[in-house]
């Protein structure tokens, strides 16, 4: 499931998709996709809360499967049980999308310079250059 996504990320984009699992197996699949995703997701909880953040871990073993997430809005790690999740939306940008080496090499030199300059200016603004 997740391997296919990495082999052909441009052909099966998850960005913008919403998974509303109908059963446990579908929920597990949606969680695995969210775990592998290179952007933020939004968990729609059964309580009605929408929780946006980076899902970095999951534990489907044991009696109370859960996911761990760095919420976008604050620092503390949030633990959410599978049972609380009603839907998973891939709301954040896929951070690797469109950045392949081929794309870099194929670009005209002028575009490459402009892009390199843009990245350098962003790093400079943060004081990293």
């Amino acid at each position: 499931m997740t391997d296919d996504k990495y082999r052909a990320p441009e052909h099966t984009p998850l960005e913008g998709r919403v998974f509303r699992p109908a059963n446990e197996a579908e929920l597990q699949e949606a969680v695995e996709r969210a775990f592998d995703y290179r952007g933020d997701v939004t968990l729609e909880l059964r309580s009605g809360e929408a929780l946006e953040g980076y899902l970095f871990n999951r534990d489907s073993s044991g009696s109370s499967p859960c996911v761990l997430l760095f919420p976008k809005a604050n620092q503390a790690v949030r633990r959410v049980s599978y049972a609380e999740v009603a839907a998973i939306a891939f709301t954040g940008r896929d951070t690797a999308s469109g950045k392949s080496w081929e794309a870099w090499v194929a670009k005209k030199a002028s575009q490459r310079r402009a892009e390199a300059q843009e990245a350098a200016e962003a790093a400079k603004a943060r004081g990293h250059l």
Binding site: Y6, R7, Y54, N57, R93, G98, W104, H128, L129
Partner: protein
């Protein structure tokens, strides 16, 4: 061999102690990732593909030191992200050096000249500079022009100030053996202590998935690069690992040899695969189904020959038997052109 005798002695004593204690799985190098933010965006890197709020998170010095103590490995490699972006990196390094860890600070060197004043030369501290080849190849690999020249200037300045400096080089499927050999010549002329080389691995989360080396091609490439090697070349890694890359011997992966700790916790199972995280190092060791990983056991591992999985296997071979030790001595002599 470029590695100082004191470091070799420390590692040998550590490994032999683990063996005498009957420890089945022990770490050799802690891969400590204090942040994922980088000032480059190399297409082959799978370490920086996160949203901004994750890239802004960092391990504190205390978390770094606690991880080093918990893990107990004699060496700590600090990759990233770009470690020199971390505002407390010098403090982190000082704390690790105080704990007598041999620290390899892996940097693209863009900020190195500017930050050198914050560090003190020590046998425990090595700046491991990311160099993927001569100017054209390196600037292409890191997707930014001019980085090679900046790095060379920083290496020269660090060497002038008495720091230990090595290079780390990742080779992809377009590598030209003759150019790589010319790069080795150049690095030796610049005066680095030693070089580390490894084939690239197809990170799950890297944007570029097409240019990584397959196993057969890896062996052919490294055989062409490392056969008839020049006397002056110095490598900062196990000679048996280099023979493994050349296809002269075969190893199974030792994923627990280089455990990884970052803002998410202890990474399962290795530096390259992300199958989840644990809160403690012991949970990583005891809670990972290690038999699921390695060549022939997991398709994600099929083509991997990367140092973080196999260098520990080579070290285990060296200290596992007298014949392994003999192989290492022989390979070392060959490596030095005898």
């Amino acid at each position: 061999m470029a590695v100082p005798v004191s470091q070799m002695y420390t590692v040998a004593r550590y490994v032999l102690t683990q063996k005498l204690k009957g420890v089945e799985r022990y770490p050799l190098v802690l891969m400590l990732e204090p942040l994922f933010r980088c000032n480059l965006a190399c297409a082959g890197c799978g370490k920086i593909q996160y949203p901004d709020h994750v890239l802004d998170k960092r391990l504190t010095p205390e978390q770094c030191w606690a991880a080093a103590e918990e893990c107990g490995a004699p060496m700590v490699s600090i990759p990233g992200g770009e470690p020199l972006i971390h505002p407390e990196m010098a403090e982190i390094v000082r704390g690790l050096v105080a704990r007598r860890k041999y620290v390899y600070l892996c940097t693209n060197a863009i900020l190195l000249e500017r930050k050198l004043d914050e560090y003190t030369p020590s046998k425990y501290l090595t700046f491991s500079i990311h160099m993927d080849g001569l100017r054209d190849e390196h600037d292409l690999a890191v997707c930014r022009d001019g980085v090679y020249d900046v790095a060379i200037r920083a290496i020269r300045e660090a060497l002038k100030r008495g720091f230990r400096v090595t290079t780390n080089t990742t080779l992809f499927d377009d590598a030209n053996p003759e150019r790589v050999r010319a790069f080795f010549d150049e690095m030796m002329t610049v005066g680095v202590e030693g070089m580390m080389i490894s084939p690239g691995y197809s990170y799950q989360k890297a944007p570029d998935q097409q240019n990584f080396l397959k196993r057969k091609k890896t062996r052919e490439l490294f055989a062409r690069i490392l056969s008839n090697r020049k006397r002056g070349w110095r490598f900062n890694q196990s000679p048996l690992f280099l023979e493994f890359l050349m296809g002269k011997r075969d190893y199974q992966c030792t994923p627990w040899g280089n455990p990884t700790y970052n803002i998410f916790g202890w990474q399962k199972p290795c530096y390259l695969l992300q199958d989840g995280y644990t809160r403690t190092f012991q949970e990583l060791l005891s809670g990972t189904d290690w038999d699921r990983y390695g060549t022939g056991r997991n398709e994600k591992c099929a083509d991997c020959m990367v140092h973080c999985g196999y260098e520990a296997s080579a070290v285990e071979d060296t200290f596992g038997s007298w014949s392994g030790f003999g192989r290492t001595v022989k390979a070392t002599l060959l490596l030095n052109g005898h």
